[in-house]
């Protein structure tokens, strides 16, 4: 059996049904564990004080904001190339989750920035990039909402996601060029591991896993909803044509 068989709506509904509660429980467990661990049982950073605790939500949400867009890009490509409806619907289902993740990253970033940089908002390249990503998510969702025919909507949003991805990377580069930035990522970022001790790392890892599993649970749940909606529309269309046919006959 080919792997694409799993993308058939009925099969998808079959295999995803038990995963939703499983992933939900796992996500709740991991996030609760990570946040409690991070909030109550980690020391303060000697420079940032207790604000370092924001890292346990800021970094996972920022990571997911980008990963979700990448997942939407892959799903859109699968739809555009292989025409698997579930793939397009998964991309549609993921977008609102991506928006919330981006919003969390922006809000926690701004809250963190207030004591660290003395300002809520700085046109720092990373923050700016996330703002632009936020706009991309909004545009993507607005286009889905605006088009009535579901397959047309899937095609157009897929193309927008494709083109948007190129421009998102380009924007990141342009924004970097435009302002060299003051993000303190370097003192506490993943690519500077020597600066971050296991005390911070382990709960952060748990939180990142928790956010990832939460996304998995939500995207499956939302995709199932979208599939049901399509099925509902097919039934309604059949009702209409059936009624018309019997009326004429």
């Amino acid at each position: 059996m080919s792997i694409w068989e799993y993308a058939n709506p009925r099969r998808f509904m079959g295999w995803s049904a038990p995963l939703v509660p499983l992933f939900s429980a796992l996500a709740a467990l991991l996030i609760a564990l990570g946040l409690v661990w991070g909030f109550f049982f980690t020391p303060e950073d000697y420079r940032m004080g207790s604000t370092v605790k924001i890292i346990y939500i800021h970094v996972p949400s920022a990571m997911m904001a980008i990963n979700i867009w990448v997942m939407m890009l892959v799903a859109s490509l699968i739809w555009l190339v292989r025409r698997h409806h579930v793939s397009a619907l998964a991309a549609k289902a993921a977008a609102p989750i991506g928006v919330v993740m981006t919003l969390i990253a922006l809000i926690t970033g701004a809250i963190w920035g207030q004591p660290m940089w003395g300002t809520w908002w700085a046109w720092d390249p990373r923050l700016t990039s996330f703002l632009i990503l936020f706009l991309f998510y909004l545009g993507y969702m607005a286009l889905w909402a605006a088009i009535e025919d579901p397959d047309t909507a899937a095609d157009l949003t897929g193309m927008l996601c494709l083109v948007g991805s190129v421009f998102a990377v380009l924007s990141r580069y342009a924004v970097n060029f435009w302002n060299q930035g003051l993000h303190q990522g370097a003192t506490l970022s993943l690519d500077a591991e020597e600066n971050i001790s296991d005390v911070f790392w382990l709960p952060l890892l748990v939180c990142m896993a928790g956010f990832g599993v939460l996304f998995a649970a939500l995207v499956l749940l939302r995709t199932r909803t979208e599939i049901r909606l399509r099925r509902l529309h097919v039934l309604e269309a059949r009702d209409r044509t059936g009624r018309k046919g019997s009326g004429e006959g």
Partner: protein, 203 residues
């Protein structure tokens, strides 16, 4: 041209299935059927504007001239300019013949926005002549034409057929043509599976 077992869909809903017919040079085929029976969808599918749901269309490349409900006229351009544009797009220089055939010569310098509905329709049909394409796909071509203009149109189609062209016409009026009739209601889709597997029930 030849159409075999063609299926058409509109907005993802199957409309026609199993449509088969052939159309040779010099022949005309009239499509009949009530509103919403899929005539426009069939024409659009053959014109290549929407993908078929199944079956085959055998057709020489770049041979179709599609005459839709909308005429594709620009209100601020004159009659002659409108025709000259489509002639240039199709690399064809039959503008003056087209003006003659539909008696548009006296109106040639008038902007399209100052034409009556029937005159606009005549201009839209004259566009077919400047495409130089052998197969005309016409969707309700005689809407808003008076009896004289219908006569003009019939003559133009006959001239086109005798020059080796062919025409597929969705119409309710009699054009005085030797045309076979194809009733599209015979091919109405019986509600086969909707695309994408959403026809299957699931919990």
């Amino acid at each position: 041209m030849r159409v075999e077992d063609l299926g058409c869909q509109r907005g993802g809903v199957p409309v026609l299935e199993g449509v088969s017919f052939t159309l040779a040079a010099g022949e005309a085929l009239a499509l009949r059927g009530p509103n919403g029976s899929g005539k426009t969808t069939l024409l659009r599918t053959i014109a290549g504007l929407q993908p078929p749901a199944g079956g085959r269309i055998e057709l020489a490349e770049d041979s179709v001239a599609y005459g839709a409900h909308a005429d594709g006229l620009k209100a601020t351009l004159t009659v002659a300019e409108n025709l000259a544009f489509w002639a240039a797009i199709h690399a064809c220089d039959k503008v003056s013949e087209a003006l003659e055939a539909f008696e548009l010569r006296p109106l040639a310098t008038r902007p399209a926005q100052k034409l009556s509905a029937g005159q606009k329709r005549r201009l839209g049909l004259a566009r077919l002549l400047v495409t130089g394409r052998p197969l005309w796909l016409l969707d309700e071509p005689t809407v808003s034409l008076d009896a004289d203009s219908v006569g003009l149109f019939g003559r133009a189609v006959r001239a086109h057929l005798s020059a080796g062209g062919a025409a597929l016409i969705a119409t309710h009026t009699d054009l005085g043509l030797e045309a076979r009739v194809l009733d599209v209601t015979a091919f109405a889709a019986t509600g086969g599976p909707a695309p994408g597997g959403f026809a299957e029930a699931f919990a």
